[in-house]
Subunit: 351 residues, 2 copies
């Protein structure tokens, strides 16, 4: 059985899934490194409105003499993950994980071998896999992410994330976090903010690596969540089993709803990159006092990808930064972060 998590086959599968012409484009580093002041908290950011807005917000909310001062308990910052803090193209990392888990899931539940979606994945037919419907992908997610204990899931996901690589860069997915966003997280924490990931992805998945990768502990990860059921194994030991039951779909309106469920405080600053983050930014910026909403615009095909409205690209399966969202951002004063212009460096491994 071939694996989808590394090597040339997987690269082809993922290429097929996304069918993005720029996937195989050469990696060209075009930015000019500017001189950075030694005490610059955001050294990977070019000077510009986005950087100025972030620093301005932090300064005004942490200065006790400012009318916009926010006491430490209220300093909540939320970050979408896919496309906001790490690469989401050509396929969400967690979808790759689920495809890679199919052989093990079929081994555990042999009847799945007869189910069309699983047959397709097992066939290795890249074009067919690329055409799996959202419903079929959900079926695969349910089969690969549930029916196991929480401990089992954590062990399997930790093993995978430690080795699986992105086909374009041939690097660990966790190396493909955006250096400028890691700097923002650190800067916010250094100023008494608590940083949270609020992701449409599974919160159990992100919790496996969040402390190591983002410096964010598991309890500060809000994401799509299934139920778990408490019970006992054969030896009478307590176990939590992951259920195929959705408790929270942490996308769109689900983001402010999930923030209320697991945080209970309206954020002061929120980062997103797609229509799935719209309601989180609306909710954040509608709060009293000073607030800030920011959207990452993917407009750098050389260093990463370009799939914003300016490119006139059709909405893809992932990360739709639509013209409508762009319009709302402009109307509401949300800050649009241009990866091309605002970020000196995208990944920590760039020279």
């Amino acid at each position: 059985m071939e694996s989808f998590s590394s090597g040339p086959n997987r690269r082809a599968v993922l290429g097929g899934l996304a069918a993005m012409p720029f996937l195989s484009g050469p990696f060209v580093s075009t930015y000019v490194r500017a001189q950075t002041a030694p005490d610059d908290p955001l050294p990977s950011w070019n000077e510009g409105p986005a950087k100025a807005a972030i620093i301005g917000l932090v300064k005004s909310t942490t200065d006790a003499a400012s009318p916009n001062f926010v006491p430490p308990d209220g300093r909540i910052a939320t970050f979408d993950q896919d496309g906001t803090t790490w690469v989401e193209h050509p396929v969400y990392t967690q979808v790759v994980y689920c495809l890679d888990r199919v052989p093990a899931a079929v081994k555990a539940k042999p009847h799945l071998k007869e189910v069309e979606a699983f047959k397709t994945v097992l066939s290795g037919d890249r074009e067919a896999i690329a055409k799996l419907s959202l419903k079929e992908l959900e079926e695969i997610a349910m089969a690969t992410l549930t029916g196991i204990t929480v401990d089992q899931f954590q062990a399997e996901a930790a093993e995978w994330i430690a080795t699986a690589k992105h086909p374009r860069w041939n690097r660990l997915y966790t190396d493909l976090t955006y250096q400028p966003m890691l700097e923002v997280m650190r800067y916010l924490r250094d100023n008494g903010y608590k940083t949270f990931i609020v992701t449409g992805g599974g919160q159990d998945f992100v919790r496996v690596y969040s402390q190591r990768v983002y410096g964010i502990p598991p309890e500060q990860i809000v994401g799509t969540a299934g139920g778990v059921t408490y019970g006992y194994d054969k030896a009478g030991k307590p176990i939590l089993t992951k259920d195929p039951k959705l408790l929270l779909n942490d996308n769109f309106a689900g983001k402010p709803e999930g923030i209320h469920l697991e945080i209970g405080v309206r954020p002061v600053i929120a980062f997103g990159n797609s229509t799935g983050d719209r309601e989180m930014l609306e909710y954040t910026t509608a709060g009293p006092g000073v607030r800030l909403g920011l959207l990452v615009l993917h407009d750098d095909p050389a260093r990463e990808y370009a799939y914003g409205p300016a490119e006139g690209l059709p909405d893809t399966k992932v990360g739709a930064f639509t013209q409508a969202l762009y319009g709302e951002a402009k109307a509401k004063g949300w800050n649009v972060i241009s990866m091309k212009n605002d970020w000196k460096k995208i990944f920590s491994f760039e020279e």
Copy 2:
């Protein structure tokens, strides 16, 4: 319309609700204050197995040379609230809140006036109120806690909790937190632990006062949770409305399930006082490495209440520390905290 939140009427209503003979017993402070070392982190605790177990756990999990060392991210401590960190007799504080909100709820939704449970509360007939069924109390909770925005709820609950008093002591409910448990929380935090409330009560309710009363921020409160729905008010402003839909019943098996949902890490130490906490203690103490489960036994009718198995009292509506739970505690090595013997002082206002 009479209020249930203060004055002699309310006192009688609550007395009727609980029908506890010791409710009107004299407040007698019987403990002998022992000499306390100046660096004692738990000065309100008498020396004994419970205090020794807590200090022993903290020392062994925070000493980098110990085989039981737990890195800071894993240092999670969970506390039940009602009966564990504050008084739960004769009626859960949040139930009193709901009864007090009935007139406002009926004003907002006049049809409730014709519903039996609401009629009963509005009648002021204490005996009839005391006999309300659990189902009727749930009806009242749904009507008084949902159908309003999160902001409205927070404002109303904050106003109530700032003034409502317990009938026995004629003190704010928030003054009836247990001083020894506040010391444990502080001691754990001073040693890099994160403290969480994991309550069968509503998490939105506890979040209103948790920072001020326990030093625990809203995002570290896990409790029974209803859904919220994101939407817009007439002016187009985003709002979250509390739904009459239960997302998490944070009692019994719901406690480890809620811990997984909102924390994602198994606790190292957990405190409870009733069968509703059994699964949380099982789950906590079944983890690898050193773990500690503790149960508060209410055995001090003079200073607080007595309703543990030793008193041979029938199970009450609240806080059942049953003989079976006592047996499981002994069998599993959970520590039973005797309020009478282990606590020098129960409330901060005691001399």
